[in-house]
Symmetry: C2
Subunit: 371 residues, 2 copies
């Protein structure tokens, strides 16, 4: 597990990637700590990218912390449906308009969509410039801002276009969660439950016991779940930066979830909501094959439901879901690869599941959703 | 310098980049040698990308060599003006249409534009798939196919969007040069002269003596200049893959040249032609500051002219050229960085040139072009 340090009235989790290592600063009010940002900006040019929802809340504060730099800003429309190659051109245009060069730094201020797009542009502008993540949603704080996956969606597949590009630091200000709408907050809980399911049984048990405090956004509980999640993610990413093996465990529920998101055009479902259903499906399939107990499936479903997350997919046919799962990038060499559970806290990446059991799981969930 | 091997009735130059090392196979009729391709394709899915000019000449032959693979093909329009983010969507669409996954291999069959676009899509489809270069123009054989630079143009700047992504091999079939139009052939000579200018005086002298054989496309002369150029490029790339220093020497003439290309909308001037003028300008500026002799400038200009390449820019004002140079990505931190010469065979990357001398050189060339 990464080291833990306290040096800015918060905690620091280190992502250990040799010359691409970086700190995740976690704490209340970090947006005001200009020196944390400054020490990770090597040049003079900084472009802050955010969206219409986040801009009125935090953009001025971040720009104030960046006073003295040659500063630009881009405000994107809000929503997963804008995470496209077309939207990236707005950022490239701004960089060129301002004459920004290879020593420029891009700051992604917002949720997962802003972070993924901004990171992709940072990975590809002049073949790579610097990048800093300032996540403002729970999901981004605990997942998408950490690990260097960047990218945009293709109309027919999520994250089909992208690059690995590590940030120079992640600034996770827990104060930004106070303005997060309830639905988005709960969507973030899905990825937190995921860490418990794939490799941290003690964390899963803690969540079962302390969910009420988490949902009440108790500051100590938030600090704990964010740090624990970042530590879990940093551990996996350090072991397998480019997802040649182990890192794929982080995709628990995602192959099912991406199919739901693609089917609904990235509009109706939040990513975390789709992943929540996907984890239920993965747990159901795992239990139906006897890889884990029915009780473990029930605990999984119960925790997800208690977090106010959906446990059933939208009305879709099993065949439609199956077809969309096949296009997911985790498919390799024709055979579908899934992340399944051998118990709570123990996930595996496998192609060796029972195909009929998968069909039965899809039928079970789509039938239940149709009722 | 990289090793040289002979094992397929041709030569092999190795690009030494640790786990990203790869061979450049150079020889007559290599397109027919299916086993050279097969040994570098790890999966079953292959997408060949080419353009309307190259397709009728070589696409069937390459597809025949790839019989047995799950094979797709994309034929792009020909020309630098199509090297855009918009064109990449045609390749992403084809990959998704065919359900291609992370183990897929993209083959770029064509000149620099096809290679750069195909490489960029390979770098970014599902965050990176395999890539093979089959260059069919002299410029691509000796320059753009080697070294892992991929990308597309922005309407206001060349190669502004891109990634470093090394191919698994480069298959340089010298037989493809027989169909190359004379103007494109000569454009390729510009990059070959460049290697002599930046670091290989003996090669420059050889070119001065043997230019007639080269222009007559004498097979032995072609084999020699291609191998010598690939060895020079492989040497520089191995020392500095991501252009943090040394590699920038390869941009001799390019900051001037890109300004010409951008000013003319990537339509009228071939890249090699613009670089040819740019090298004359760099040599003129170097000589005017006394960094090298006037005689060295004259030899440079004479060799470029003898190769049938332009030595004067299109009608543009010095100010317009200067402005377009500033946006070039080699500009760092506000100060323009140029590759200049301290003699034939000895280039330097520098910001420490005399600004008035640059202005005088731009005025000299634009005035001469206006006559």
């Amino acid at each position: 597990m990464p080291n833990r340090q306290t040096n800015h009235s918060g905690h620091t989790v280190h992502v250990d990637l040799k010359d691409r290592s970086y700190p995740i600063y976690i704490g209340q009010g970090l947006l005001e700590k200009a020196e944390l940002l400054h020490r990770h900006i090597p040049g003079t040019q900084v472009l802050v990218v955010t969206n219409e929802t986040v801009a009125p809340l935090y953009l001025e504060r971040v720009c104030a912390a960046l006073a003295g730099f040659d500063l630009g800003r881009v405000i994107l429309p809000d929503g997963e449906q804008h995470k496209t190659l077309e939207t990236t051109t707005r950022i490239y245009d701004a960089l060129i308009d301002q004459g920004f060069n290879r020593s420029a730094t891009l700051v992604g201020l917002g949720g997962g969509v802003v972070g993924d797009i901004t990171g992709f542009v940072a990975a590809t502008y002049q073949r790579g410039v610097h990048f800093i993540q300032i996540p403002t949603t729970l999901l981004a704080l605990v997942d998408s801002a950490v690990g260097g996956k960047t990218g945009v969606n293709h109309p027919r597949g999520k994250n089909m276009i992208g690059a690995f590009h590590q940030p120079r630091c992640v600034l996770a200000d827990t104060a930004t969660l106070s303005t997060l709408p309830e639905r988005e907050f709960r969507a973030g809980i899905a990825e937190i439950i995921k860490y418990g399911l794939i490799q941290d049984y003690a964390f899963f048990q803690w969540l079962e016991r302390q969910l009420a405090q988490v949902l009440a956004r108790d500051p100590a509980a938030l600090m704990y779940i964010i740090e624990q999640s970042c530590r879990n993610k940093a551990y996996v990413v350090a072991a397998d930066e480019r997802e040649s093996g182990q890192r794929a465990l982080l995709n628990l529920g995602h192959t099912f979830g991406h199919a739901i998101e693609t089917a609904t055009g990235y509009r109706e479902w939040l990513h975390g909501e789709a992943v929540a259903v996907g984890m239920c499906m993965a747990a159901h399939l795992s239990a139906s094959m006897g890889w884990m107990t029915a009780k473990a499936f029930e605990r999984t479903e119960a925790l997800i439901q208690a977090a106010g997350l959906p446990v059933l997919p939208p009305p879709l046919s099993p065949g439609a879901l199956r077809k969309l799962m096949a296009i997911d990038k985790k498919a390799t060499g024709g055979r579908l690869r899934l992340v399944l559970l051998e118990g709570i806290g123990s996930a595996v990446v496998t192609e060796a599941f029972d195909d009929q059991a998968l069909t039965a799981t899809l039928e079970h969930f789509t039938a239940a959703a149709g009722r």
